[in-house]
């Protein structure tokens, strides 16, 4: 039997202790063990971005990220993007209101990447905006409204 490693990390603001296997993927820890089903698996090879989560605020593919490497770090999944006063989180709101959601399967990963991007690039160029979700595939929307949502988040400015 493989050794299990005990890790502590902060997931969506809460301290989580878990015993993980050495090559366990972060996505499996999140979905299968912690029940955070908002993180989707679209390809399991890093090609589609559906499993995107934030680790210390940076977007990564949770299908390529060893769960053990989450130790001591802060992980944010879509369940962690909460708005204030019962409202939707601004990134979620932008996607919903601007029609950037169709089947919704790519949406949680797309939103997390968009949110990280806006945090990292307060004044992005047009080219950077268009490339912001280059690692996330959407089959439904044609991306136009997704890029609209990213642009709205840029224009609104990000208060964190």
């Amino acid at each position: 039997m493989p050794a299990e490693i005990e890790i502590s990390c902060v997931i969506n603001g809460e301290l989580v202790k878990a015993r993980v296997q050495p090559a366990e993927r972060l996505v499996d820890l999140l979905r299968e063990r912690l029940g955070l089903k908002g993180t989707k698996t679209g390809c399991e090879e890093g090609d589609c971005g559906a499993c995107t989560v934030l680790v210390d605020g940076v977007a990564v593919n949770s299908c390529l990220f060893p769960a053990v490497e989450a130790a001591g770090r802060a992980v944010t999944t879509i369940e962690g993007l909460q708005g204030t006063n019962g409202e939707l989180h601004p990134a979620v709101k932008a996607f919903v209101e601007l029609g950037a959601v169709q089947c919704g399967f790519c949406t949680p990963g797309m939103i997390l990447r968009a949110w990280a991007f806006v945090g990292e690039n307060p004044n992005p160029t047009e080219d950077q905006i268009r490339r912001s979700v280059e690692g996330n595939i959407c089959r439904c929307t044609g991306y136009v409204k997704i890029i609209d949502a990213v642009r709205r988040l840029v224009d609104e400015g990000v208060e964190r």
Partner: protein
């Protein structure tokens, strides 16, 4: 739970500890920096059969950082694409490398994938290989040594690759750093990975050029090709075709013809041999224009 045969995880916090673990391991010990290739392989059950262990390189300070080393620049093996793309020193001194890092894979992968992993995996299409070959980078390999510290050796990158997926790195060696000597003053660099999109693409061909002009004449030229042979290569014949020439239509034609001849691409799902040779020729023309104008 996972059917992985990975039996243990190690988290060394110094190079010495990492190398000792490698030397002392009874089962294959896979160093992991980003993990972007390994976890996919494991999940697809493409790892060599039998138990193995994983060693994280994320916490080894000697493998991190981008710094001046005399005239050279040292880049730790665990430096990520994201760090390369954003680094101010590289942006100023070696933009051709920073740009290639920015055009690799996706932002999510760039956040974790490393320069060491990209080189050690030795894909013929490895995105950073073309600029690093142009820059005549050397690979610094470390293995477990005595009291005085690790054994180190340096291998020119052009010799480091030995075939698709294979390198000169031996089982107990770690890719500690890429060392990039200062390029000749005035040499201009450009590289290009054609495709329908800037990133998120496995190159079907890529090329880079370094051009040093002496007035109207080419004083020196460096050419590198990706995905155009069984490993990333330099293009000595194309270089020779350029040296000492003025960059008129005739010499452009000769250089691009030399490129077409000297690459040895395969036909696969990403493109035919004919197309790849055609691209090699095209790219050389394009890069000459980019470096000249």
């Amino acid at each position: 739970m996972s059917a992985s045969e990975c039996r243990n995880y190690h988290r060394p916090t110094s190079l010495r500890e990492a190398l000792a673990l490698m030397a002392g391991s009874e089962v294959p010990l896979w160093p992991v920096a980003g993990g972007t290739d390994l976890l996919v392989k494991d999940h697809r059950r493409q790892m060599p059969p039998g138990p193995w262990e994983m060693m994280s390189l994320k916490h080894v300070p000697e493998l991190n950082g981008i710094a001046k080393d005399g005239d050279a620049i040292r880049i730790g093996g665990a430096v990520t694409m994201r760090e390369l793309a954003a680094d101010a020193l590289l942006g100023e001194r070696l933009p051709v490398l920073a740009l290639a890092a920015d055009h690799m894979a996706s932002p999510q992968i760039r956040a974790v994938a490393t320069i060491g992993g990209n080189m050690a995996n030795a894909s013929p299409a490895a995105d950073l290989a073309v600029p690093l070959l142009l820059l005549e980078a050397e690979v610094e390999l470390a293995s477990c040594g005595g009291e005085s510290g690790p054994n180190l050796r340096r291998v020119p990158l052009a010799d480091f690759f030995t075939g698709p997926g294979t390198t000169q790195r031996t089982k107990n060696e770690l890719l500690r750093a890429l060392v990039i000597p200062a390029p000749p003053a005035g040499m201009r660099f450009a590289s290009h990975k054609p495709g329908t999109r800037p990133a998120m693409v496995c190159a079907h061909a890529s090329a880079g050029l370094g051009l040093l002009m002496d007035g109207e004449t080419v004083a020196d030229a460096r050419v590198a090709f990706g995905a155009l042979a069984d490993r990333p290569i330099r293009g000595p014949k194309t270089e020779a075709a350029l040296r000492g020439q003025t960059l008129d239509e005739k010499s452009l034609e000769r250089a691009s013809e030399a490129a077409r001849q000297e690459v040895s691409p395969i036909s696969d799902v990403r493109g035919s041999e004919t197309y790849r040779r055609e691209l090699a020729a095209s790219l050389v023309r394009r890069l000459i224009r980019a470096c000249r104008d």
